[in-house]
Symmetry: C2
Subunit: 318 residues, 2 copies
């Protein structure tokens, strides 16, 4: 036990791709590179104080009740019975509103840092409900697929949202992700509104066949099966309308050998999965060329599936 | 190669449970015990002749174009280019219209027997499309979950119906099935009519989370996860109305330790999965007691998951 011996902890939580094609609201994975840092220390001020948020252009609230990281920590402290004040600094190393789980990363990094600071009363997987409560304040609906992918790393399946029941899935060795973030903003609430509230039974059956097959593909390392099941005829047709160049980027990615291509979260980011770094680079280049025809800036992240998830990166003792 | 050396082959294809809870139209498994035998031999009469059907109470058509086994063989012969006449005898060792894939078993046993007779031009898994064509004449819609479970054995997932894309899933060692067949008849077409043509998106999401988790549970041998994911809030609520004692049998099965309980196919058969023979017996007894309060007869099958599927059981050389 390290209870009460630390004075400062810094944690990192990676960006994540949710709504993975057939797995709307249930499948997510973490990527390497972008993510959020949260540094937490004990403070004489009771409750949670957010001292600073870096790289958010002043857009995120400093009130801990309204802030995803602040609210997540408050939930953790309440449940664990810790009465000491905590102050945090949030450093965003990923774009907001990009469809890469920005609020999830903040909530996860916050609870991972504070859990370590207060002596690790919880195992990593048990931090999920606190991070979910935090994310609720940002997005209204908790995205357990983003939260659990960022927390645990790898590929995750959300069997149930309430209560959360999350399954860590195996990641085949060669699996690579390409994430393309065009610099436009899509309001998540409006992308929810665009969705029909009901689905034809025949399409729903097709979708759950594909989710089951995708899970089987991950377990068996069958890239062909993974590819055939990365298909979404329910959400993607509506939401892709809002993403510039979606159809052309997808076609180009598939032509380059992508296993599949779809929307990350509610967009505007899109992702491809593939089975080699070389293919990943080609997919990124082809998407870049298409976006350069627009006046939008963009980021491209090429990454293995991040199996580690959130990590404590530094600690200072009292 | 044994081409043209055999004169008679007898094959067996087991009964199967389809629409496994969350896996409506996509998940099936084979059981041991009930099933259909088909004996096939070369004949001087061109085409396919159905000499006899035993134990069908005269209900199944002898016209090969209208008979599921006959039609499946015609499809197989056409594709393989074999011109010789074939005559068959069908022996049903399972109830018709029970929700246990009776027509699927006939179609599968037929193509397995004839494939062997004509020198095995196809591997077992490649017989699926022929059996599907046969089953089409019986039920209007092909049940690839019944057909592929009966053909291949074990647990199967139908990723896509057209073209058929079927995944064999692993079967955890302790998994046992209890199948209860109350002696009433439910017309499959009317059970299809009872289904709503669309599904609320939220329930569809829940269902595909459960299908993914069920597949993960089979791969990881996690009986708890299997149990939590054996849930169907889409089809079961409507169809179970037609099954006498459904609610009480389900409650009793869960009280005895079942992992899950739902409708087999379109009913009237129901099934439970559990993790020991002892529990299986208790589940069977509790269902029997409930059905004895009605005036219905019933059968109860207690079985491991049948991993073998269809088999050639005897051959005679020319």
């Amino acid at each position: 036990m390290t209870q009460n011996k630390l004075k400062k902890v810094k944690a990192f939580a990676p960006a994540s791709v949710a709504n993975v094609a057939c797995g709307f609201d249930v499948l997510g994975f973490a990527i390497s590179g972008p993510g959020d840092f949260v540094e937490a220390e004990f403070s004489d001020t009771p409750g949670v104080t957010i001292e600073a948020i870096l790289n958010d252009d002043g857009r995120l609230p400093l009130d801990p009740e309204q802030n995803t990281a602040g609210k997540a920590i408050l939930a953790l402290l309440e449940e664990s019975g810790v009465k000491r004040g905590i102050s945090i600094r949030i450093e965003k190393k990923m774009p907001l509103g990009s469809g890469l789980g920005s609020s999830a990363s903040s909530a996860v990094a916050a609870v991972v840092a504070v859990n370590e600071l207060i002596g690790n009363p919880y195992e990593k997987k048990d931090l999920l409900p606190f991070a979910l409560q935090g994310e609720m304040v940002a997005s209204g609906t908790p995205h357990a697929d983003n939260i659990s992918a960022s927390l645990l790393g790898g590929f995750i399946l959300v069997r149930s949202h309430n209560p959360p029941d999350v399954v860590s899935l195996p990641v085949p060795d060669k699996l690579m992700a390409v994430v393309i973030h065009p610099h436009i903003e899509i309001n998540t609430k409006s992308t929810r509104l665009i969705l029909r509230k009901s689905v034809p039974l025949s399409k729903a059956v097709e979708q759950w066949g594909n989710v089951g097959a995708f899970v089987a593909g991950l377990y068996s390392g069958d890239y062909g099966l993974i590819s055939r099941s990365l298909y979404d005829d329910i959400i993607e047709p509506s939401r892709s309308i809002l993403i510039p160049g979606f159809g052309r980027m997808k076609q180009a990615a598939m032509d380059q050998g992508a296993l599949g291509f779809s929307i990350s979260g509610a967009g505007p980011s899109v992702f491809a999965l593939c089975d080699s770094k070389e293919t990943a680079k080609k997919i990124g280049e082809s998407a870049g060329k298409i976006l350069e025809e627009t006046e939008l800036g963009y980021d491209i992240y090429i990454s293995e599936i991040n199996k580690e998830g959130s990590v404590v990166i530094s600690k200072e003792e009292e």
